[in-house]
């Protein structure tokens, strides 16, 4: 700790080296709402290096005193150019105007917006809420995760599956942050909708490679979601009534320009009609999900800003008195931004998250209740220090405390006739310290580099009982030779390691650049699942004596080029990624309530490589993107597929997406999406045999065949109503799977139910038909 303070002090000393340049710093905000803008590109005429605003809208540039044209550009906003005179350190707070709705108007013609080419970051895509809302969606609900799945390098095991897969990574390898708090299950209704209410989201950033050292904890990607802060200028709101959800968001100033708040709620309502049913079972059943987002932010003074964000989401499912389950995330984040000076920006956060599920049967001979959860407490400090024009340092530390309750049975209150006895697995406690430093170094006008290092530690602490096996590499329940008992708070095991991160950008010419990166990532929280799509009832387990940290190394190279005066942004990237200590489970393993779970665990390696092409147009009447990915993802796990390499369940050789939106006139716009990909792999039998009256498949190998190719088209039409005194409405008509293709989710094999002597193959499709929907949205 002391050495850390010394480190900060020494940074100040370094920076005090006499330089005749001065800083320009300030916040960039939306003029209509007062919300901070993340990632605004700031360029100064006559100065080569460019800068961009951080997640809180803060930016710093450094110039030699003089007169300058400074320009702020951001997608969806009018570019703001100002002529400024700089003699000493200058504070410049900017409020940008959202783009005029006048069609075809380019806000400032002839100006550069080549962020894509000039920025050091690669394999990173930022989307704002407006972009997400343009895409036609399933059952009329615009969805963040479904939009992410249209980006290059992202795939999914199928429709209705939870989460997404990035560059060969499994769903639990994505660090999904909602205002810095981790989301463990990003889905409602088992995977059809994501938990992010689009009305509450400000912007989203997906980082697939070249991950800076300030992010850690998961192997494959970061999905960083910022919630809306709340309108600081006036009371406003938005909402909608759709086929699945109804939504309402209200935001406004509590103290104008200083304090504002936002509250968003949505709920599905299919089950509100259950009581009307003439079936007694249905009357007592429930099927619903909801999200509550809230955020308060207060600008205390010019140097201090406080933010509080919260999220509460839940899925409820109850089938009369027979069976019920519920699950959901609860998150809270408290953040304090503090400016030590124009050049040192700090953010301190306290983050809590809890993912919990419950299932049970309230009555009958097997009445029981089962609760499992993962609690996360994180205390974290992040600093960004603008050393000089050539170095921007990010450094910080965090300490995470996990309590994982793998679950157990409980008696149901007031039911003494149940056969179930109480069996509870021990809670697992862990502490994860992290430190990082990252330098963004501009070497000359053409070459920039970023080098970072992250230290990750992971301590398992008691109380717990750890079994010792005769053969630690092949653990068998019948070969337990001893057990170690640890007392409360006792250190049981410590894993640690370094995560180097490196990237570079080399500018080739005005419109193109070459970028590359290498990063290592470590993961200590592992999803325990065996199914192709993760279920909400899957548990997470921490690294310990037997579960080792998963490690990935990724190298990426990319060519970035803009065309037609930056109207078209394109990128072409290739990547190679190697996975170590991947966790999998023995076939037929018991994963729930198993006190010897390590005996079911298998360890493996994997790799993924591929190329990604991305063409995006974000200006004009026609906007959208085309993405194409060619990739290959393989795993090798001793104990699966006889130890031979096999295709990952989400491996798709070709994956192409086109999404486009066209404004016909001020009121009417149309949008469409087309998706094509190679079918996912499945396992087929090598033969069949007779056993005890059944005909059983002789399964050998894993994922050797593929389901037919997947393709689908969706369309949407949006008609905006006239702007009334108090509100403006909009109708969205959309159709999912327009040509009603029966895309195979999987293929399985069975005895014919009518004639059991006959064996056959069955195709399973999730949506075999077109799904039309109508949604009404409004804002005021």
């Amino acid at each position: 700790m002391r050495s850390f303070q010394f480190f900060i002090l020494s940074l100040f000393c370094l920076s005090s080296v006499a330089q005749n340049s001065v800083t320009i710093s300030g916040y960039v905000k939306d003029k209509t709402t007062g919300e901070a803008l993340n990632g605004v590109f700031i360029s100064i005429k006559g100065v080569k290096e460019a800068s961009s605003s951080n997640a809180y809208g803060y930016f710093v540039c450094r110039v030699i005193p003089g007169n300058y044209w400074i320009q702020f550009s951001y997608i969806g906003y009018e570019t703001d150019s100002q002529y400024i005179t700089v003699s000493a350190a200058k504070v410049l707070n900017i409020e940008m105007n959202p783009s005029s709705k006048e069609l075809g108007r380019v806000s400032v013609s002839g100006q550069k917006r080549n962020k894509n080419v000039e920025k050091l970051e690669m394999s990173t895509i930022q989307l704002n809420a407006a972009t997400i809302k343009k895409i036609p969606a399933v059952m009329g609900e615009v969805d963040l995760v479904k939009t992410i799945q249209l980006l290059p390098g992202v795939s999914t095991v199928g429709e209705g599956a939870t989460g997404f897969n990035v560059r060969g990574g499994s769903v639990d390898q994505n660090l999904i942050l909602l205002d810095e708090a981790p989301i463990y299950n990003s889905s409602h209704a088992l995977g059809f909708f994501s938990v992010f209410n689009p009305d509450a989201v400000k912007d989203v950033k997906l980082i697939k490679g070249g991950i800076p050292a300030n992010y850690g904890g998961r192997l494959s990607s970061v999905l960083d979601i910022q919630m809306k802060e709340g309108n600081k200028k006036k009371l406003s709101g938005s909402g909608g009534i759709g086929t699945i959800f109804s939504r309402l968001t209200i935001e406004g100033p509590i103290k104008k320009d200083k304090v504002s708040a936002m509250v968003a709620f949505r709920r599905s309502y299919a089950d509100l009609f259950f009581p009307l049913a003439n079936n007694d079972l249905l009357k007592e059943s429930a099927l619903n999900f909801y999200d509550l987002n809230m955020k308060v932010n207060a600008m205390i003074d010019k140097k201090n800003h406080l933010y509080f964000s919260g999220y509460l989401g839940k899925d409820n499912f109850r089938f009369a008195e027979l069976f019920g389950t519920s699950w959901g995330n609860q998150n809270a984040t408290l953040r304090w931004n503090h400016l030590f000076g124009p050049r040192l920006f700090s953010n301190n956060s306290f983050i809590f998250s809890n993912y919990r599920y419950e299932l049970g049967s309230p009555s009958g001979p097997f009445a029981f209740k089962w609760v499992s959860n993962i609690k996360f407490y994180n205390v974290k400090s992040d600093y960004s220090f603008f050393l000089n024009s050539n170095h921007t340092l990010l450094f910080g530390m965090q300490s995470i405390f996990y309590t994982i309750n793998p679950g157990g049975t409980e008696q149901v209150k007031g039911n003494s006739s149940s056969n179930i006895i109480n069996v509870k697995l021990d809670n697992k406690y862990s502490i994860e310290p992290n430190f990082y430093i990252n330098d963004e170094h501009r070497i000359n006008s053409k070459l920039s580099m970023q080098y970072g290092l992250r230290y990750n530690g992971f301590a398992s602490i008691g109380a717990a009982k750890v079994y010792i096996y005769k053969n630690p590499d092949n653990r068998l329940v019948r070969e337990i030779i001893d057990s170690n008992i640890y007392s409360n708070g006792e250190l049981m095991n410590y894993h640690h390691g370094l995560e180097p991160r490196f990237s570079f950008k080399f500018t080739l010419d005005k419109n193109s650049s070459l970028k590359g990166s290498y990063n290592r990532t470590r993961q200590n929280i592992h999803l325990v699942t065996q199914t192709a799509a993760a279920s909400p009832l899957d548990i997470y387990l921490p690294s310990d004596k037997y579960f080792l940290p998963q490690i990935a190394d990724q190298g990426t190279l990319g060519y970035f080029r803009n065309f037609k005066n930056n109207v078209f942004e394109t990128s072409f990237e290739i990547y190679y990624k190697k996975f170590n200590n991947l966790i999998d489970f023995r076939d037929g393993a018991t994963l729930i309530g198993n006190p010897y779970i390590e005996t079911e665990m298998l360890r493996g390696t994997g790799y993924s490589y591929g190329t990604e092409l991305y063409i995006r147009k974000s200006e004009g009447r026609l906007t959208g993107w085309i993405s194409y990915t060619w990739s290959r993802t393989r795993r090798t796990v001793a104990g699966i597929n006889e130890g031979k390499e096999y295709a990952a369940p989400y491996d798709k050789t070709h994956n192409a997406n086109i999404t486009a939106s066209y404004e016909i006139n001020k009121r009417l716009s149309v949008s469409g999406t087309f998706v094509y990909s190679t079918g996912v792999p499945y396992t087929a039998p090598a033969g069949k045999f007779a056993f005890q009256g059944w005909i059983l498949a002789d399964v050998s190998g894993r994922n050797s065949l593929r389901v037919p190719d997947y393709h689908r088209m969706d369309i949407g039409i949006t008609y905006k109503g006239k702007k009334k005194k108090w509100h403006q409405g909009e109708w969205v008509l959309s159709a999912y799977n327009v040509y009603a293709r029966r895309n195979a989710y999987s293929v399985y094999f069975r005895q014919n139910p009518q004639n059991p002597a006959q064996t056959e193959a069955v195709r399973v499709a999730v949506f075999g038909t077109v799904i039309p929907s109508l949604t009404y949205n409004f804002n005021f």
């Binding site: 369940p649 009256g693 059944w694 949506f767």
Partner: protein, 265 residues
């Protein structure tokens, strides 16, 4: 517990399925499939066939010329072929706690399996029937079998339930019923529902076989490969981990059996 999860799995995505034509590689057929059992106080019974390509709809070839030998550590019993690929033992009868080894030789193939007869002590106390109230009106079979059982104290017991309705063993994949004592160790189990739906006058017979954990896992994988296929939360099908060596299929199951009979009043 596990069943609860199946319920969720069944509730979603049960529709939207159709039978399709596929070509599969057919290079691993003709393996020995050995279905062997030895029960407490009974003689061994074995049925040997050969495996077929998955879409081959002919009957399974019976192996009638195999040499089948059972050993219990002291005695050796050569089983006798009684026709149709069925073999029965002549002298060794199952005893709790003993380890049995069976060898099968056919042509130039040979395979061995070893199994222990797990402890008994489970007991069926009573059987009764009741009508399920919430079934749709068009169901003619509306009655379910319930039992009271005693599970012996001490963890690690596993069971296979078999159900006969009107003298016919129920052998659809969804009739596989295996249970363990993880959450019910030493409990007198009340109101345990078993088997298929019945109507007045049906005769039932329920057997509970004690099985080893390895055997439980084999049946569990059969469930994974049959009933639990086609939904989005299903695991991929996986090889059945048999106790037969050298790539032979099937299982050598050694159990002690308790049973009860009843007639729906």
């Amino acid at each position: 517990m596990r069943n609860s999860i199946y319920i969720i799995c069944l509730l979603i995505l049960s529709g939207c399925q159709d039978v399709i034509d596929l070509k599969l590689p057919e290079n691993q057929t003709g393996k020995l499939a050995i279905d062997a059992t030895l029960y407490k106080d009974s003689l061994a019974q074995v049925k040997i066939t050969k495996s077929l390509a998955y879409f081959d709809q002919t009957t399974f070839p019976e192996v009638i010329d195999a040499l089948v030998i059972l050993k219990d550590g002291t005695d050796i019993d050569t089983l006798q072929h009684i026709g149709g690929g069925n073999y029965i033992g002549k002298k060794i009868r199952g005893k709790v706690g003993r380890t049995y080894t069976m060898e099968v030789k056919s042509g130039n193939e040979s395979t061995t399996a070893t199994a222990i007869l797990p402890r008994d002590g489970h007991r069926i106390d009573s059987i009764y029937f009741n009508e399920i109230p919430f079934l749709p009106a068009n169901f003619t079979d509306r009655i379910v079998t319930n039992m009271w059982l005693q599970e012996p104290l001490g963890p690690g017991d596993n069971y296979l339930f078999r159900f006969e309705k009107n003298d016919t063993l129920q052998t659809r994949p969804e009739n596989i019923d295996i249970r363990d004592d993880q959450f019910v160790d030493g409990v007198q189990l009340k109101d345990i529902s078993v088997g298929v739906l019945l109507k007045k006058g049906d005769r039932v017979r329920v057997e509970i076989h004690s099985i080893t954990r390895e055997c439980y896992d084999y049946y569990f994988q059969i469930i994974n490969n049959t009933v639990r296929q086609g939904g989005i939360f299903n695991p991929p099908p996986a090889p059945l981990k048999t106790n037969w060596s050298n790539g032979a299929l099937g299982y050598f199951r050694v159990s002690s059996v308790v049973s009860i009979k009843g007639i729906v009043p």
